[in-house]
């Protein structure tokens, strides 16, 4: 089996590869959202502490 045949997937290439591409997007989304959310939360927590320090 050569690369060309492999990408063609017996004529179903568009269906197979779009499914796998969407899977990759969903898996990446689930990985990146918690990373960005963590940065946001750490920033919020530190602002919150700073405010508390100022008040006390």
């Amino acid at each position: 089996m050569n690369w060309q045949q492999w990408f063609d997937m017996g004529g179903y290439g568009a269906y197979v590869w779009s499914s796998y591409a969407l899977t990759a997007i969903i898996l990446l989304w689930n990985l990146l959202t918690p990373i960005f959310r963590r940065r946001e939360v750490l920033r919020k927590i530190q602002n919150w502490y700073r405010q508390e320090d100022r008040l006390s």
């Binding site: 089996m1 492999w6 997937m9 017996g10 004529g11 179903y12 290439g13 269906y15 197979v16 779009s18 499914s19 796998y20 969407l22 899977t23 969903i26 898996l27 989304w29 689930n30 990985l31 959202t33 918690p34 990373i35 959310r37 963590r38 939360v41 750490l42 920033r43 919020k44 927590i45 530190q46 919150w48 502490y49 700073r50 320090d53």
Partner: protein, 258 residues
Amino acid sequence: MWAFLHKLASPKHFYRITGRWIPWLWVITLLFMVPGLYLGLWVAPPDYQQGDSFRIMYVHVPAAWMSLFIYVFMAVTGGIGLIWNMKMADIMAASSAPIGASFTFLALVTGAIWGKPMWGTWWVWDARLTSELILLFLYLGYIALQAAIEEPRTAARAAAILAIVGSVNIPIIHYSVEWWNTLHQGPTVTRMDKPAIHPSMLWPLLLMAAAFQVYFFTVLLMRARTELLWRERRARWVREMFGNSTRTPFSNTEKVVT
């Protein structure tokens, strides 16, 4: 074992212990996923009826399994939080919802992409497809309900009740292909006798299913740890870890201003 679980229920220990697990969980995910993809996309022979389009199964079926598993996980952890008032259980339930919704969406769309060449249509209103769509709405309803209530305890309680009531849909999805005459095919792997699938085609499926399972727990822990920090921001251990703001890299810009 119980002592260990008890320790995990404490936010501080949960945060510390799971932080050490995450890199290893990624390694395990890849150890399942890389051979799964190689066997599924390259080694397994084309199906005699479906040709190469059956390879969509290797992402569609694990995604569909996970959509059910995560829902049950969410209802059970939500129930534990409801009965025993456990903060960690609440956080687990809330963190699993968006992941479950994304897997349900993935199962529905890859199913449609498979349906087009095989059935000649993207979508039919048969029992399996419709009940899976309802599952997506249950997840979205759960997320919306949780977001609509400010106070975390009340939000967790209300959402847990929704999750438990909605779990009636899970057996309906599972048995839909047996109870009704659906266009969707019946189970091939979980049959009581022998799986009606050749080992060379079954192995990649099992590897991908295992990969998705470990992946779920990995991203779940990542979400849960962050959510935990936010809810525990008043606790001393969080403050000791992330307080002392002038020395953390996140306040570099602020330092210039003040």
